[in-house]
């Protein structure tokens, strides 16, 4: 503290310590948030085709096509410790090949300040719904779920499943005509 430089060092170090403490308090203030909200999912149309998967084995695999409605009000999830949400929709089902299949059909990053009230009607998924065999045709129980990662300023990265998933079934026959 006897020279200008040592004082500068002391002030800077103390400021950084206080900033670290404040960041920790910010984390504690949101550590017990649930980050849950209701999601309304509904499929409008679902067909399945049997086509070669050139991106993988070139064998004929089941490819699902669907259009869906998605409504969710995610505005309540944002607070001063949330920078952005990574939201993604998964389809989960059981097939003969696997006990558990999870396919990400759509995702989106919502930054804080962006429009967080989602209302999609009759939209197509962003990614292909490939099965690794013939597990989609006639599948009676395919569950769509919307989930999100919360990206905070400080703290843990919770992965939250939205409440309100939707189950649908694919038709028992392949569609051969062009769809959608």
């Amino acid at each position: 503290m006897n020279t200008l430089l040592s004082r500068a060092n002391a002030i800077f170090a103390f400021t950084l310590s206080v900033l670290a403490g404040l960041t920790f308090c910010c984390f504690v203030s949101t550590a017990f948030n649930e980050y849950k909200t209701n999601v309304t999912l509904k499929t409008v149309k679902a067909v399945v085709k049997n086509v070669p998967d050139y991106s993988a084995s070139r064998e004929k695999n089941d490819l699902g096509f669907l259009t869906y409605d998605l409504q969710a009000d995610l505005r309540s999830l944002f607070n001063w410790n949330v920078k952005q949400l990574f939201i993604y929709m998964t389809a989960e089902y059981v097939s003969g090949n696997n006990v558990l299949n999870q396919v990400v059909l759509w995702d989106k990053i919502i930054r804080r300040g962006d429009e967080a009230k989602i209302d999609y009607r009759n939209v197509n998924p962003k990614y292909y719904f490939w099965d690794d065999g013939n597990g989609l045709r006639g599948n009676k129980n395919i569950t769509l779920t919307l989930s999100w990662n919360v990206i905070p300023n400080a703290g843990s990265l919770p992965n939250v499943f939205g409440t309100g998933s939707h189950s649908f079934s694919f038709p028992a026959e392949y569609t051969t005509s062009r769809v959608m």
């Binding site: 503290m1 200008l4 002030i11 103390f14 400021t15 607070n79 300023n153």
Partner: protein, 98 residues
Amino acid sequence: MLDNLNFKSIPTHMDFDGQRRAEKIFQTIILVFGIVGFIGGYIYQQFSYTVYILGAGFVLSCLLTLPPWPMYRREPLPWQKPQIENVESTQKSKKKTK
């Protein structure tokens, strides 16, 4: 004109009590700004406000305690009177001759 100024005569030190007070002052300022920033950031739900207000406290405490202001020089140490010895007296006489 500048040659007439004796820069060595400008005091640039803090006395011990001044150093203690300087440390207390910047700690108080930064803590108060941090707490106010935290409350403000919580009310507005913007952590960046907290950081900016803390930064303002940093700048203010730098201005107040970095330069050796005269207020930190109010309690000089009560040095003993210089004891006159032969060696010193010769040095003094040397300086005078300069």
